[in-house]
């Protein structure tokens, strides 16, 4: 099936994204059912709103948190995308940037935070620790990847990732949000944690 919907990100050409194959596969899965024109237009409008207003939860456990602060600061300025409204209450946040190591003691807390967030909610795993445990993967007290407990939308590798990769990750998330369907069978594609 041909990919009908292609999210555009302002001043970032489609070809410059590194993982277009995976992305197109995802788009195909999401849009397999198809929908009529009016609904698609409404969908586009809502997706436009959502993708441009991803308010992050202030959540940082370690080093990556400092880089997240740097992203919010003057040089990288996440506010350009409209993401600067960091919310401290999970109820009001749209995206949780899991930046830093998640230990087994923190895991239930993170899960609870995720459960407390209101739909639609997205997860970005930032840094090696959140993706796989990173340098601490052999430790007895570290969770080997947050995707074991919560579904992850975007992985941003690095230890810690540079601010540029933060922004790239957020743009990837925007692309993902832009092809979701609001009307139809499910509000969004059901994601299940790996284990």
């Amino acid at each position: 099936m041909e990919v009908k919907k292609r999210a555009k990100i302002k001043s970032f050409p489609y070809e410059d994204f590194k993982d277009n194959e995976t992305y197109e596969k995802l788009v195909q899965e999401l849009n397999a059912n198809g929908a009529n024109v009016i609904v698609t237009q409404l969908d586009n409008l809502i997706d436009w709103g959502r993708s441009n207003s991803l308010w992050p939860l202030t959540f940082a456990t370690s080093c990556c948190g400092i880089e997240f602060m740097a992203v919010c600061a003057a040089r990288y300025d996440i506010a350009r995308f409209g993401f600067e409204v960091t919310r401290n209450s999970p109820r009001q946040a749209d995206v949780i940037l899991v930046s830093g190591t998640i230990t087994t003691k923190m895991a239930p807390v993170l899960k609870r935070l995720y459960d407390q967030m209101a739909d639609p909610k997205y997860v970005v795993a930032v840094g090696g620790c959140a993706i796989s445990g990173g340098p601490f993967t052999k430790s007895y007290h570290v969770l080997k990847g947050v995707d074991k407990i919560i579904p992850v939308d975007v992985y941003v590798p690095g230890c810690p990732p540079r601010p540029e990769s933060f922004l790239y990750g957020m743009m990837q998330l925007q692309r993902k949000v832009k092809v979701e369907q609001f009307f139809g069978t499910t509000n969004k594609k059901q994601k299940e944690p790996k284990e």
Partner: protein, 522 residues
């Protein structure tokens, strides 16, 4: 330094010896390290006490061969900080301290099985991932040894049924990470703070025991990521001294400059976060603007922004960048100018002054007893700068002041950091033009084996004395590698500093204490 004179004591002699030392002026307990010396050596503790007047250190150790219920006497009534250190030893080694009022786990979950740092413990098998919310008990156990040698238990209350307990953290914007305070409130007034740690306990010390020496280096950067240079410097120095590697003058000087740059970086971040916590968001961004300049210098020379991985055993990863000196020299006047702006923007602000002066004071005695080194201790008038007391690298060649203040309140803790930025700039200014020629790295063997022995090296990190305690059996990985956390004493002192103040002051006090949570939990 090599520790070949650790005094071994029987548990029964320990208290008398410790009381004697305390009376002789050894009023600062810098380390209390749990140890597992196997079946014969038993489970024990290494103590390091320091005389704050003469800077003389005394090292002692004691052990119990009972692996089922090892009982050692407590010293928590002599030094306040021992309270939390002994809980750490209990948590990791299961050593029970008789007479300690609060024998709870501190880092691991209360339903954790086993004691992970014991050599024979298999923590992963006994502890699957528990997704239930952690039970937090409101009472605690005290163990006492009776005259006939039996151990009795007693219940102590942490929070009573009438306490209005608010959880601040682990997910809270102003705890600087995943710190968890259980705070008993009376209206807005704080009555008690009970820190619950370990939300970012990554088991670094246990990991070290299975890693080779070069591998252990990587983890130091990630402890206190705002003192990455200094922590790694400490470990490198410790291993170099143990292996008797002489690093060149050039390395010494470059390490000193980078340590000081790191300190400025950390203090700027301290300023920014304090402003943010107190509601002055604009000042936060001003701080970050200047911090980027330092990160640029780091990036050019070391390749990293936050986790730098620059020091290595025997020297540095690479020589400094040709632009390094030029950039640093540009930075010095720039930063001096901006410090003035910080003072104009924030220090002079009447709201800030009202919110920080007289808030959360720690006296000199309290600071020493809690082992609050770094800016927090110096704000109270305790001259604890390792760079002065036990000089290392190029610090004995430069001329700088140890900034001291009197009252130890939040305002002084804040001012100390801003003044230290200026001192650090002075140090850098003296060194940057005189970087001697030499090797940037000494040749080391491909497999690094540290000779058998016990070694300790402390540096002045961004927020206090960071110590590396290394016990080697001559293998390619350490037998025990312990880090003296700079933040743990600060968290231990939070109750004393915050009691009777308002909940808004908790944020100010926590901000000016300047702790970094991964460094506390390790």
């Amino acid at each position: 330094m090599t520790l070949d004179n650790i005094k071994t004591l029987e548990p029964s002699q320990l208290r008398a010896e410790m009381q004697g030392l305390k009376a002789k002026g050894f009023d600062y307990l810098s380390n209390l390290i749990g140890m597992d010396w196997g079946e014969e050596g038993g489970l024990g503790v290494v103590y390091c006490v320091e005389n704050t007047a003469t800077h003389e250190q005394a090292w002692l150790k004691t052990a119990s061969t009972d692996r089922e219920q090892p009982v050692l006497p407590t010293v928590s009534d002599l030094w306040d900080i021992a309270n939390i250190y002994e809980r750490e030893a209990y948590d990791f080694y299961g050593i029970i301290f008789a007479g300690h009022p609060d024998m709870r786990r501190i880092f691991l979950r209360e339903d954790w099985v086993g004691y992970p740092m014991r050599k024979d413990d298999k923590p992963e098998e006994q502890n699957p991932l528990r997704m239930t919310n952690e039970p937090l008990a409101d009472d605690t156990t005290q163990y006492d040894v009776q005259a006939d040698g039996t151990v009795t238990t007693k219940k102590n209350v942490v929070f009573g049924p009438d306490d209005y307990v608010v959880n601040i953290g682990p997910q809270h914007p102003s705890t600087h990470g995943v710190l968890h305070f259980r705070v008993a409130l009376d209206g807005e007034i704080i009555r008690k703070i009970d820190p619950v740690l370990g939300y970012i306990h990554r088991g670094v010390e246990k990991l070290n025991e299975s890693y080779t020496y070069p591998q252990t280096l990587a983890l130091t950067d990630r402890l206190d990521y705002l003192a990455a240079m200094q922590s790694r410097h400490a470990l490198c120095m410790c291993i170099e001294k143990a292996m008797e590697i002489e690093v060149s003058e050039r390395v010494q000087v470059v390490r000193t400059i980078l340590d000081e740059l790191q300190r400025i970086d950390s203090h700027i971040l301290f300023f920014s976060c304090l402003c943010q916590d107190m509601g002055a968001t604009t000042a936060f961004l001003y701080g970050f603007r200047d911090r980027e300049k330092i990160l640029d210098i780091f990036e050019e020379t070391c390749g990293g922004r936050l986790i730098i991985n620059y020091n290595t055993i025997g020297g540095l990863m690479a020589d400094i960048h040709p632009n390094f000196q030029k950039r640093v020299k540009e930075f010095i006047p720039y930063m001096r100018k901006n410090i003035k702006e910080y003072h104009a923007l924030f220090t002079g602000n009447v709201i800030f002054q009202n919110r920080s002066k007289g808030i959360g004071p720690l006296t000199k005695e309290q600071a020493i007893s809690f082992g609050c080194t770094g800016g927090t201790g110096r704000a109270a008038g305790w001259a604890n700068d390792v760079r002065k007391n036990h000089p290392y690298a190029a610090y004995d060649k430069v001329d700088f002041n140890q900034v001291l203040r009197e009252s130890g309140d939040s305002f002084d803790r804040y001012m100390i950091r801003l003044d230290e930025i200026l001192e650090s700039l002075n140090i850098i200014e003296q060194l940057v033009d005189n970087i001697p020629e030499g090797n940037y790295k000494e040749k080391t063997k491909p497999i690094i084996k540290v000779p058998e022995g016990t070694y300790y090296q402390a540096v002045e990190s961004s927020r206090g004395e960071f110590g590396v305690f290394l016990e080697s059996k001559g293998d390619k990985s350490p037998y025990r590698l312990h880090y003296r956390s700079t933040g743990l004493p600060l968290v231990a002192a939070m109750h004393t500093a915050c009691k009777g103040f308002k909940i808004a002051d908790l944020v100010t006090i926590g901000g000016t204490m300047d702790y970094i949570v991964p460094d506390i939990d390790r």
